[in-house]
């Protein structure tokens, strides 16, 4: 019986030993504590890398859908809203049909909103903590510069999606501005005015311009360097109708990048090594958009992998091209619709995607000059492109010249994500004539229609205490429908 007693005491002792407190400390295996990230510049660089990834990552807008890939998705949404492309099935088709994708209660507005603000919060942390990191000053400067460029770009992109264009809506509500990392106690910020938003955009981009002056991004086409920042500044000033500045910045970039040769133009727009590409993204075997990139959407049957065979060109748009224009790479299929061969995936189905190239800069310069009345110089720039592509030279002047430049823009840049932003910026109506009607796309919308502008997601209206939940002018929400009349 004694031995049992011993066992009993031993057992009690063992119970005591088990109860050490470390036992209950467990940590995730694939996440790190926020406090550990910003100790060295290497950590800050990792946060920056994460932000770059976010800009093209699946589910970056929280929609968890195959049309939620950050920038490439935004570009496709923009193209779907224009007059040039017909979406016959595939993805983004509700944008094409104007079936209400701008509504506050549809995932799309939330996806766009969330994508940008997650990026902004990540960049805010980098900007706030980079100075306290251990590391070389030059590294810190470059990391900070890139983060600022990202933030500036994000606010610019938001401003274009969630409000009428700057030139007529400066005093309209902008988007909430955050410049500090979000904490548990951060409150929602008010919309302010669009002027406030653009002030932030310019301040960030100008700071970035300074910090990135000596930054070499190597072969990372997706990174913000001085040229990308200058290109974006050109776009920003263009939207603001500050023509001189817009032209100046575009020209600076144009000096550094050659135009796309015809051979390059005809080779499928899938190679990031094309010398005219200023900004874009690669797809790799590990990081790609699977069968949901633009290459899988276009109907031309050249892709080796799955294709939705969904995007075609409207016949009215094809009619804008001369047949001997080298960009006339169209085929009339099934006696019905024009297929375009502009976008063709590479052999691995992992083609790169362009976000900015020198032709846009050239057209920005031409437009800026034309808007300033410097028509001869404007024409010279325009002819440079028209000659190259074997298009007829525009000889018009005044407003017609500007229109010609805008048409050249569509012809050169279609499918690259400019359609919606150009409609808004130029206060154009949406006139879908011709064969759009056969594909449910014969929508007509007046200039400055609110249907072009996304409503703020319901969750923002409900949970941001600084916003008044009501339709403008009674509240902070954008109208869904109707036409905006500048005050």
């Amino acid at each position: 019986m004694k031995s049992i007693k011993h066992i009993f005491y031993l057992g009690i002792t063992l119970c005591g030993i088990c109860s050490c407190s470390d036992f209950l400390e467990t940590n995730p295996s694939t996440s790190v504590a926020d406090t550990e990230v910003f100790t060295t510049t290497a950590g800050a660089q990792a946060a920056l890398n994460g932000s770059y990834y976010h800009m093209r990552a699946y589910n970056s807008g929280g929609a968890d859908r195959q049309d939620d890939y950050g920038i490439p998705s935004i570009r496709l949404i923009s193209d779907m809203c224009g007059e040039d492309i017909i979406a016959w099935g595939g993805w983004y088709v509700y944008n094409y049909n104007y079936w209400g994708e701008t509504r506050a209660d549809i995932y799309r507005s939330s996806q766009l909103w969330t994508f940008h603000y997650r990026l902004i919060n990540n960049t805010n942390s980098i900007i706030a903590y980079i100075d306290q990191c251990d590391g070389a000053e030059v590294e810190k400067r470059h990391i900070k510069g890139q983060a600022l460029a990202m933030r500036g770009w994000a606010y610019f992109s938001l401003a274009q999606l969630f409000q009428q264009t700057y030139s007529i809506a400066q005093n309209m509500p902008g988007v909430p501005i955050y410049t500090e990392p979000t904490t548990e106690s951060t409150e929602g910020k008010p919309r302010g005015t669009l002027d406030n938003t653009y002030a932030q955009v310019l301040s960030d981009l100008k700071n970035a311009e300074e910090l990135l002056a000596d930054f070499d991004r190597g072969n990372n086409i997706n990174h913000f360097d001085l040229s990308v920042v200058e290109g974006i500044l050109s776009e920003v000033y263009q939207v603001m109708n500050h023509w001189e500045e817009s032209g100046k910045y575009a020209e600076r970039v144009l000096e550094k990048y050659p135009l796309t040769t015809n051979e390059q133009y005809l080779s499928g727009f899938n190679d990031e090594n094309t010398p005219s590409w200023i900004w874009g993204m690669r797809q790799t075997e590990e990081q790609n958009m699977s069968d949901y990139s633009l290459f899988a959407m276009w109907g031309n049957d050249t892709r080796k992998c799955f294709t939705f065979r969904a995007y075609f060109l409207a016949d009215d748009f094809v009619a804008l091209f001369d047949e001997d224009d080298i960009r006339y790479q169209f085929e009339f299929w099934w006696d019905q619709i024009y297929a375009s061969y502009k976008f063709r995936d590479n052999d691995d189905c992992r083609g790169s995607i362009v976000f900015m190239r020198s032709e846009e800069m050239l057209l920005n310069v031409a437009e800026a000059l034309a808007r300033q009345g410097k028509e001869t110089e404007a024409r010279e720039f325009l002819w440079q492109l028209q000659d190259l592509r074997n298009a007829r030279r525009s000889t018009s002047s005044g407003n017609d010249l500007i229109e010609d430049i805008l048409i050249e823009r569509r012809k050169e840049l279609y499918g690259e994500g400019y359609a919606l932003f150009d409609l808004l910026r130029n206060q154009k109506p949406l006139l879908r004539t011709g064969n759009h009607i056969n594909y449910g796309g014969a929508t007509t919308l007046a200039s400055r229609s609110w249907r072009f502008v996304f409503q703020l997601p319901n969750a923002e209206m409900k949970n941001n205490k600084s916003l008044v939940d009501g339709i403008w002018p009674n509240g902070d929400q954008n109208p869904y429908d109707g036409v905006y009349t500048p005050q």
């Binding site: 049992i4 007693k5 009993f8 057992g11 119970c15 088990c18 109860s19 036992f23 209950l24 400390e25 995730p28 295996s29 694939t30 996440s31 790190v32 504590a33 926020d34 406090t35 990230v37 946060a47 890398n49 994460g50 932000s51 770059y52 990834y53 099935g89 049909n97 079936w99 209400g100 509504r103 506050a104 209660d105 939330s110 909103w113 969330t114 603000y117 902004i120 990540n122 955050y178 979000t182 904490t183 910020k189 990372n220 690669r282 590990e286 990081q287 069968d291 080796k304 992998c305 799955f306 939705f308 099934w334 189905c349 056969n438 449910g440 319901n458 923002e460 409900k462 949970n463 916003l467």
Partner: protein
């Protein structure tokens, strides 16, 4: 009084003298209903507590002192009798079956208890009831068997879990699932790895008094699965086999024929044109001319199969028709064999079993195959030492898992699209070099392109294998009579491995030469506990004390890799493929440290009180908040043992009980996955910029996060009357507080929400169980069981006044599953379009006043919150089961009905088929859609343009979901002993059964199975199946 005293005193003084004079008492015990001898009956001398059990012939013999006068004769399932020893002749004792079984022993948390005295709320479901249901997952057998328990068998895939809720939904954003405990310890394995034939009983613990000892994991109730042990000295050999076939319990909506689908497509195109302002004639011409383009394939022998009148051209002949349903859904076999051998000796008992199930479901190539073995052993090497182990191994293979898109496909694919490639020139299906048809991957489909589920099943075998080891071992030391120390050591281990494969010859992966995708989850968890119990009876007092300590640790490891590009066909392993596609791995650790205790006391078998207390520390929370205390108190009063009720002999039992306590819930979730580190501020890794490692912000720090707690009250009455009717009624209230809510943040902060313990929810209701022995004669027995539960779910506190959650709006004082949305107002007979009610508000006074409502056809006007209206609650008002069991001589018959009354279902499975979308087939109801000739139609005009309401949520597709399901019907025949004895078997039973043969309810008419999710939503689930089986049960 004095007399008694002297009586006892004289006894005590006589002991040494009398004990020397022993006599032999012999007897035979039989059952009163059939006079058969009873084996293993316990016979105890009341005076000396000496006892024995009866042998194979029901005989016993005891050597007892002369003073012994009374024997206690007890046997499970029979009423205990006190028998007076008279003379020297053999006692003939007939035991009466205890129909109401009030003295049954049941397994409770960390021990056992008597049903008659238990202060908490629990239901025991015995193996006989579990065995009746044909299932490859034991949880599915629980439906309709216990009050307070809502079991939703929403999946017809073999081996799938059912979702189980005990007394309502105790949480909003954390888990609402009960804790599963197998043989006393929380179970971490797969539920479908448990062989139902090994299960002795399942006890469902429902209130705090019953569950508080499981502390931080007990808030949603506990389901205790107890496996069998050897009980027969003679030894038992049981063999059981069943085989049968399945089909859908509720048929899918009838598939439109090609003619119907093509006709509707034509109409949609025509109407679409007219919506764009084109004239009738032009629109008809357009539709006729372009129909084939819209279809993308022409199944007819003419270019314009539909004429200008919208009718199929009489000369048009259908060339082919894709019989998708017939090819994909087939009635396939299920077979199951189980064998067990069990027995006991004086010092040991054993139960050894093996089982095999092959359940082929109803979908092509689908299969769930499982092999199980189990050994439950107990041994007592010394009087003070007992040890034992329950160990089971299982291995299962699941051939195909059908996801919702396959079901969506099945519902919306038109026979216009062939299953196999069609050769127009030949006028027949294309054949490959072996003369077989070639699967059509949908190049000519408008949707579901590059896919053929039938081909996938044939070409892409992707089995998932699960290996499960589950072991429960113990050593128990008895120091003094009543004082025991027990150490339990339990292990649950599983390895889930998925061998994904996509062939490189056909379909989606043909562009890159195929893909291998391998995935492994390895889970290992241990529980060690040390328990000290003390059991003491003195005079009328009885005391039972438990104190213990427990540690739990779980480690889950995940590993995934995928490569693409096989050199040629027939290869499936990663090693053979050329290009790295993706890789991932992670691990999770979860630990608990606990102290627990319980005291039970009763007086004179009339008054019982119990109290329990547990302290848990969990790794899931910050050190400052990780310790929580959970406790309960319970009391019961057995009124039937009071003198004043003893005059009514028809009252077998009457008990009042009440309990109160607090239990916890630490299972915070992200989506459906457990969140083990919710309090930490984190950056997620793996957010790489190509080859440069990257991180992004994933969580805000949240140190104050803590348990959800659940305050539970239970008041009930149990009764047993006339030795015929037994039952209980209970009222419960579960007040969940500190519920984890994602407190919404403005998304512009970069976060949609932050988790906070800020909500309260209450579930209260009433439940009853009745068991009625309608007839209990020797040859004829008939029992009726009925149970029902009605509960309400009320949100009592929210982080803000109201919150939107999908189709629901959460408001204080209302149910969490209250549908809110725009109210549908029927079809406008003039235009054929859907109409909705639009609220009109007046804001001129500065306040928003609802002044009226008007009809609108434009849902886009109704996007704001103030256009929503309460549309109904998803939760049923009353649900339960009704069982009849009948036996007559060798024939037995039983049926189980499950009913669920009230509750709404938002039927998106139906709505997805109720408008025109290019390439998708429709519901037959669309044939009755509005036309200019049929303006009173219930369904709106079909149009390519009028698709703006599609997918938009309103009350249009919200339906009442009352349903009744005949869950099981069984007919069996046991061979008479006279015959079975001749072939050397104890008993042989043959049976036929059908599971889910009948379902009644509105949903059936729509082709939707009424058993969907608790939240009243459909999601193209694999529907529940019905089955018809034969079987035999053999006892040697």
């Amino acid at each position: 009084m004095n007399k008694q005293f002297f009586f006892i005193l004289s006894f005590m003084m006589c002991i040494p003298v009398l004990s020397a004079q022993n006599r032999e008492v012999t007897g035979v015990v039989t059952s009163s209903d059939d006079e058969q001898p009873l084996i293993g009956v316990t016979v105890i001398d009341k005076q000396t507590q000496r006892g024995t059990v009866t042998n194979e012939n029901g005989e016993f013999s005891l050597s007892l002192p002369e003073r012994s006068q009374q024997l206690l004769v007890s046997y499970l399932g029979y009423k205990t009798r006190e028998v007076t020893i008279t003379g020297n002749q053999t006692l003939r004792i007939a035991l009466e079956p205890d129909v109401v079984a009030i003295d049954e022993v049941m397994v409770i948390a960390y021990g056992t208890g008597k049903k008659s005295t238990f202060t908490g709320s629990a239901t025991v479901i015995k193996s006989e009831s579990i065995e009746k249901i044909r299932t490859s997952n034991v949880t599915q057998a629980l439906q309709g068997q216990s009050s307070g328990v809502q079991v939703i068998n929403s999946s017809g895939q073999p081996g799938d879990n059912s979702s189980i809720l005990i007394r309502g939904i105790g949480s909003v954003n954390a888990s609402s699932s009960p804790l599963y405990v197998v043989d006393g310890v929380a179970y971490d394995g797969y539920l479908n790895q448990i062989n139902s034939a090994d299960v002795e009983s399942i006890t469902i613990l429902k209130d705090a008094s019953a569950t508080a000892l499981y502390g931080s994991r007990a808030a949603n109730g506990v389901i205790m699965i107890i496996t069998k042990k050897g009980v027969s000295e003679k030894g038992q050999i049981n063999f059981r086999s069943t085989f049968g076939f399945s089909s859908l319990a509720v048929d899918l909506p009838r598939a439109l024929s090609s003619d119907e689908f093509v006709g509707l497509t034509w109409l949609a195109m025509k109407n679409g044109r007219m919506d764009a302002g084109i004239s009738d004639a032009e629109a008809s011409a357009y539709a006729t001319d372009n129909l084939v383009n819209e279809l993308k394939i022409n199944p007819y022998n003419t270019n314009k199969p539909v004429g200008l009148d919208g009718l199929i051209d009489p000369n048009a002949q259908l060339l082919f028709s894709g019989d998708w349903r017939g090819e994909l859904l087939k009635s396939r076999m299920r077979q199951e064999y189980t064998l067990d051998i069990s027995g006991k000796t004086q010092r040991s008992d054993y139960f050894v079993s093996g089982g095999y199930v092959s359940d082929k479901g109803i979908f092509t190539a689908q299969q769930f195959e499982r092999f199980t073995t189990r050994a439950n052993l107990n041994y007592q090497p010394r009087a003070w030492l007992q040890t034992g182990t329950n160990t089971s191994l299982s291995h299962s293979i699941r051939k195909i898992w059908i996801d919702s898109s396959t079901i969506w496909f099945l519902r919306t694919i038109s026979p216009t699209y062939p299953v196999y490639e069609w050769d127009y020139e030949k006028g027949d299906y294309k054949l490959d070099s072996n003369g077989n048809r070639i699967y059509d991957y949908g190049d000519n489909r408008q949707t579901w392109i590059a896919w053929n589920p039938l081909a996938d099943a044939a070409y892409n075998p992707s089995p998932a294998t699960t290996d499960n080891v589950s072991s429960r071992s113990y050593i128990e030391l008895t120091f003094l009579p009543g004082l025991k120390f027990r150490t339990n050591f339990s292990v649950d281990f599983y390895l889930y491995s998925y061998d994904g494969y996509t062939n490189g010859e056909y379909g989606y992966a043909a562009g890159f030469g195929g893909e291998a995708y391998k995935e492994n989850y390895r889970n290992m968890s241990y529980t060690i506990n040390n328990l000290l119990t003390y059991n003491k009876t003195f005079a009328n007092h009885h005391l039972n004390v438990l104190a213990g300590q427990e540690a739990y640790t779980m480690k889950q490891k995940y590993l995934m890799a995928s490569k693409r590009g096989f050199p040629f066909g027939g290869l499936t392993e990663i090693g053979s493929a050329s290009e790295m596609n993706s890789m991932d791995s992670y691990q999770d650790n979860y630990r608990l440290l606990s102290w627990l205790s319980r005291i039970e006391y009763d007086y004179a078998d009339k008054y019982y009180i119990s109290g329990s207390f547990r302290t848990d520390g969990t790794s899931r929370f910050h050190p400052d908040t990780r310790w929580g205390n959970f406790w309960s108190i319970g009391a019961s009063w057995r009124i039937s043992n009071e003198e004043f009720l003893k005059v009514y002999p028809w009252i077998d039992n009457l008990k009042l009980k009440a309990s109160y306590g607090a239990v916890g819930n630490d299972d915070l979730r992200i989506g459906n996955a457990s969140n083990y580190y919710a309090y930490q501020g984190l950056y997620a890794t793996g957010m790489n910029d190509y080859n440069n490692a990257g991180v992004t912000i994933s969580r805000l720090p949240n140190k104050s996060l803590k348990w959800e707690s659940n305050i539970q009250t239970n008041i009930g009455v149990d009764f047993a009357l006339f030795n015929k009717l037994e039952g209980g009624v209970e009222w419960f209230n579960r007040a969940s507080k500190d519920l984890l809510f994602p407190m919404p943040l403005a998304p512009s902060t970069g976060f949609g929400s932050i988790d906070r313990n800020i909500g309260n929810v209450k579930n209260y209701g009433i439940e009853f169980e009745l068991h009625y022995q309608a007839v209990n004669r020797k040859d004829l027995k008939w029992t009726i069981d009925l149970n029902g539960t009605s509960y309400k779910n009320i949100i009592t506190k929210l982080p803000q006044e109201e919150m939107n959650s999908g189709y629901f709006k959460w408001r204080e004082g209302e149910s969490r599953y209250n549908f809110w949305g725009v109210e549908y107002a029927g079809v406008n007979p003039e235009t054929g379009n859907d109409q909705f009610w639009k609220n009109i508000y007046d804001t001129s006074s500065g306040e928003k006043v609802l002044t009226g409502r008007e009809l609108t056809e434009n849902l886009n006007e109704l996007t704001s919150d103030d256009q929503k209206k309460y549309l109904g609650d998803a939760l049923p008002k009353l649900f339960g089961g009704f069982t009849n069991t009948l036996s007559y001589k060798g024939i037995d018959f039983s049926l189980l009905i499950y009913y669920s009354l009230g509750g709404k279902l938002y039927d998106s499975d139906y709505s997805q088929m109720m408008s025109y979308r290019t390439g998708y087939s429709m519901h037959p109801d669309m044939l009755k859609a509005w036309t200019s000739e049929n303006t009173s139609a219930q369904f709106p005009r079909i149009s390519t343009a009028y698709a703006n309401t599609m997918g938009s949520y309103s009350s249009k597709f919200l339906f009442d979901n009352t349903f009744v399901r005949l869950r099981n019907i069984t007919l069996g025949y046991t061979l008479p002993k006279a015959i079975s004895g001749k072939i050397q078997v104890n008993s042989l039973r043959l049976f036929v059964q059908s599971d889910n043969p009948l379902t009644f309810g509105k949903a059936v008419g729509r082709g939707t199975d009424p058993e969907q999710s608790i939240s009243g939503q459909t999601n193209n689930r694999f529907p529940v199946t019905q089955s018809f089986s034969f079987g035999l049960q053999l006892n040697l």
